[in-house]
């Protein structure tokens, strides 16, 4: 059985997440900011009666969120018992994974390499397959980046 991917755009790059890692996709209407939170945490939002920690994927990779417009949609995933909403530039499509993740010569860059499983082929072209759990774990490291 082929694996299904969710194709997104993060800081202008084509990225993908395994559909099996993703709980749902939501439209964020309001974010409650959390003072003193790490920069990549945009705040909290809710899905039904559950509070989600909103991660801005653009900040995780070290970009300014304002540099890329967003359509306010977010991918919801759960790891280590907590639920997160990952804010991205845009959500494109759901597509089949056509190849296993591969590394490329020269790597994807330090930050990207840590987050990515590798490059995968899709109908829409190559995309970087990201590890959802790694995006949430960025907390401790993110301080180092900023």
């Amino acid at each position: 059985m082929t694996e299904v991917l969710i194709l997104t755009q993060i800081a202008g790059r084509a990225c993908a997440l395994r559909a099996s890692d993703v709980e749902t996709v939501i439209e964020i209407d309001a974010i409650t900011p959390v003072p003193r939170a790490p920069k990549h945490i945009a705040g909290l939002t809710t899905l039904r009666s559950q509070a989600l920690t909103v991660i801005d994927s653009r900040v995780v990779i070290g970009e300014m969120p304002s540099a890329y417009p967003t359509d306010n949609r977010a991918v919801v995933f759960r790891t280590d018992g907590h639920s997160y909403a990952l804010r991205v530039d845009a959500l494109h499509d759901v597509d089949e994974m056509l190849s296993q993740p591969e590394q490329i010569t020269g790597g994807f860059g330090a930050v990207w390499s840590r987050l990515a499983e590798g490059m995968v082929e899709t109908q829409a072209g190559p995309a970087l397959l990201l590890k959802a759990s790694e995006l949430a774990r960025t907390g401790e490291d993110a301080r180092g980046i900023h």
Binding site: A30, T32, P33, V34, P35, R36, A37, P38, H40, I41, L44, T45, T46, R48, S49, Q50, A51, T53, I55, D80, G81, H82, Y84, A136, T138, G139, E140, A142
Partner: protein
């Protein structure tokens, strides 16, 4: 006892169902040993349980069957067809008797089991047991009915959690709907069913909350074995006395207190209780006493572990604390015994001269205290030299729902656990004063000077308000430390359901959890102990010690009571213990129903009885009430005027002949009657509906 009986019936039935197949297989091949074992276990268990409950007839037949089956197992007897029939008849009879016990009707004919027992012994042909035909045939049908009647079932815990969160979702959806209905204006067609939905929902929520509760018995049941093993290892004799096993606690809380309790018991047996020889030499009985008791007061549980051992050695504790740099020599001299006793909860203090494998396991009482404080509880030690020590654990009933004060700063809302809040005061109040000393801010509230932190500053937010316009929340941490927090405004008090934070937000060290407000908005719960620690308002260890424990539990003669002083409707001045006054309610006089002998009013969806009402003295427009509550039940007490809070001092002088007055106390040099809230609540209070209260408060 009823619960145990239900368990017994359920267990017997379950086993009966399980061995049904075995019986049939055994009938086909009476020499099959494994089938026989299963049946033997069944009658053996039934017999054992009967002894427990005093069912002599059931015990007799199961005993007879056990004996006969034991003979077969031992090879003393060969099962023939008659024997099998006799055993089956016995099992049917057990079934009938259990059904009779369950239905509460003792309708099994007296002596009906005698021929069965005789048949089992081989003395009588089973066919001749005509008496048996009656209980076997006719009540057998009867046995079918109770079998389908409701009994307890076991559920996986995560299923319960799912139901719980589903109900929370429903409550939020209801609140959202309520909000929209309000905006849409009066809609009689919808309002009725909506009200009904609200009532049903709060009932369901109530029931679900109860589902999460567990008897503390579950935890206590493991202690006799622990105590036996420990005392055996140490060559001590210990008598364990357990009380209050029927107290119910949230199962999460039970998990939190499990390790602390085990730790304290280990300590008590390892260090507290002496060896039999030492005890005899000290003129005590050879057997050490260890008592564990649980008690519920309001929405808190108190667990006390008492031993009659040698007590805490204050000298040694203080010596060690000084040696470890925990306190200085001069501080030590200023401390009384009670303060020294609390030092056992400080890190790095174990007085055992030698670390045994019983109590010296690395985790100290400091860990116990920290674990309890994390869930909003506290721990205290008392001791009398040579007579023993007691450790008190105070724990909230549930972890997931707490009462929170919703505050706002720079347009954002934050929750403060109500248990920390001592007092709230507006900056404009004439009694308030603030001073800047360097970068530090001090506030003086009612002559009491405390450090003040600005929530805006803590969170890096900008507030537009001058101190004069701000609101100050006086907070007392679990260890007794006091500080003030300046916020922009206070919204309300409400029950909030707290959910854990993601690691990224925990590392901010500002928050301890998150919750959803009525409108579905998330709100952060402030981690006040951590904030106070980070800002140096308390410094770990030292500050805990310097501040004396809250005065409400000090010795009787110097006792002061914080009370609300008011003028009752009949013009007399009275006082009510502050911890009993949940709120001051002002209601339109039209809302008070005085048509019956017992006046009442509806406050936040709850009908509350009213006391102290003097119809002649009522204001035509509105009436003020004290809402008296102990967390379990409540009532309203009508007042003419609320004066202020005050400290009552002096000996409490009991008043004969008036049960409504607890005692006479002193304030500002005059005597004042202290209302007996506990008695009034017991006699007239209305039980609080948890969900109703939460919704009412949030509205």
């Amino acid at each position: 006892m009823d619960d145990l009986l239900t368990d017994f019936i359920a267990e017997t039935r379950d086993m009966m169902e399980a061995i049904e197949g075995e019986i049939i297989a055994w009938e086909a091949d009476p020499s099959d040993g494994t089938r026989l074992d299963a049946i033997f276990r069944f009658v053996h268990t039934v017999k054992g349980n009967c002894g427990f409950f005093d069912f002599p007839r059931l015990e007799r037949i199961s005993h007879a069957a056990e004996d006969a089956l034991a003979d077969v197992r031992a090879g003393r007897r060969t099962p023939d067809q008659d024997f099998v029939t006799a055993v089956l008849a016995i099992i049917d009879c057990i079934n009938i008797m259990v059904a009779a016990i369950e239905s509460g009707k003792n309708d099994v004919p007296e002596g009906g089991e005698n021929p069965l027992i005789a048949a089992l012994a081989g003395k009588q042909d089973i066919a001749a047991g005509t008496v048996e035909a009656e209980p076997a045939d006719q009540p057998l049908e009867k046995a079918e009915t109770p079998a389908s009647a409701p009994r307890s079932i076991r559920l996986p815990v995560d299923l319960l959690d799912r139901v719980m969160s589903g109900v929370s979702d429903m409550v939020l959806a209801r609140n959202d709907l309520a909000h929209r209905l309000e905006q849409a204006g009066d809609q009689p067609l919808i309002d009725g069913p909506f009200e009904r939905l609200t009532t049903i929902l709060s009932d369901v929520r109530d029931a679900i909350t109860r589902m999460r509760m567990q008897r503390v018995e579950l935890l206590f049941n493991t202690f006799p074995r622990l105590v036996r093993d420990l005392s055996h290892d140490l060559g001590k004799t210990v008598a364990l006395d357990i009380e209050g096993s029927d107290v119910e606690l949230d199962r999460e809380v039970i998990e939190v207190i499990r390790d602390p309790l085990v730790h304290i018991i280990r300590n008590a047996i390892g260090h507290g209780l002496e060896t039999p020889e030492e005890r005899l030499a000290a003129g005590k009985s050879e057997t050490g006493q260890l008592r564990i008791g649980a008690r519920q007061t309001g929405n808190r549980i108190t667990i006390v572990i008492t031993d009659d051992g040698r007590g805490l050695n204050e000298e040694k504790i203080a010596e060690k604390a000084v040696a470890n740099g925990l306190i200085t020599q001069s501080q030590r001299e200023a401390m009384d015994d009670n303060q020294i006793q609390q030092l056992v909860f400080e890190p790095g203090l174990s007085t055992a001269s030698q670390v045994s494998n019983i109590s010296g396991r690395g985790v100290g009482l400091d860990v116990v205290r920290d674990n309890l404080e994390r869930v909003g509880g506290w721990i205290k030690a008392t001791s009398t030299p040579g007579q023993g020590a007691s450790i008190y654990l105070h724990i909230p009933l549930t972890l997931s729902i707490i009462t929170g004060l919703i505050t706002e700063v720079a347009g954002q809302r934050f929750a403060i656990p109500q248990s920390y809040v001592e007092e709230v005061e507006y900056g404009s109040h004439p009694d308030m004063d603030y001073t800047n000393l360097g970068d530090a801010v001090l506030v003086t509230m009612r002559g009491q000077r405390t450090r003040c932190l600005s929530l805006a500053e803590i969170l890096g937010l900008e507030t537009q308000l001058e101190p004069y316009d701000q609101t100050f929340v006086l907070l007392r941490l679990a260890n007794g430390d006091l500080f003030a927090l300046a916020v922009d405004k206070i919204h309300n008090i409400g029950d909030i359901v707290v959910k854990p934070l993601s690691p990224a937000l925990l590392q901010t060290q500002c928050y301890s959890g998150t919750a959803l407000l009525d409108d579905g908005q998330p709100i952060m719960l402030l981690d006040l102990p951590q904030i106070a620690l980070d800002r140096g308002v308390v410094d770990e260890g030292r500050a805990r010690i310097e501040v004396p424990a809250p005065s409400n539990e000090s010795d009787a003669s110097g006792e002061t009571i914080r009370a609300m002083v008011f003028t009752a409707m009949d013009g007399t001045r009275k006082a009510a213990r502050l911890e009993m006054v949940a709120r001051i309610e002002t209601l339109p006089t039209s809302q008070i129903d005085i048509s019956r002998a017992q006046p009442h009013a509806v406050v936040s969806d709850q009908i509350l009885p009213i006391f102290g009402l003097e119809i002649a003295a009522m204001d035509a427009r509105k009436t003020r009430f004290l809402r008296i509550s102990d967390g379990l039940s409540e009532f309203l007490y009508a007042v003419r005027e609320v004066e202020d809070t005050a400290e009552l001092y002096g000996d409490l002088l009991p008043v004969a002949g008036d049960p409504a007055v607890e005692a006479l106390a002193m304030t500002d040099g005059v005597s004042i009657p202290l209302m007996n809230c506990t008695m009034l609540l017991k006699a007239h209070g209305v039980k609080i509906k948890h969900a109703a209260l939460a919704e009412g408060a949030a509205r």
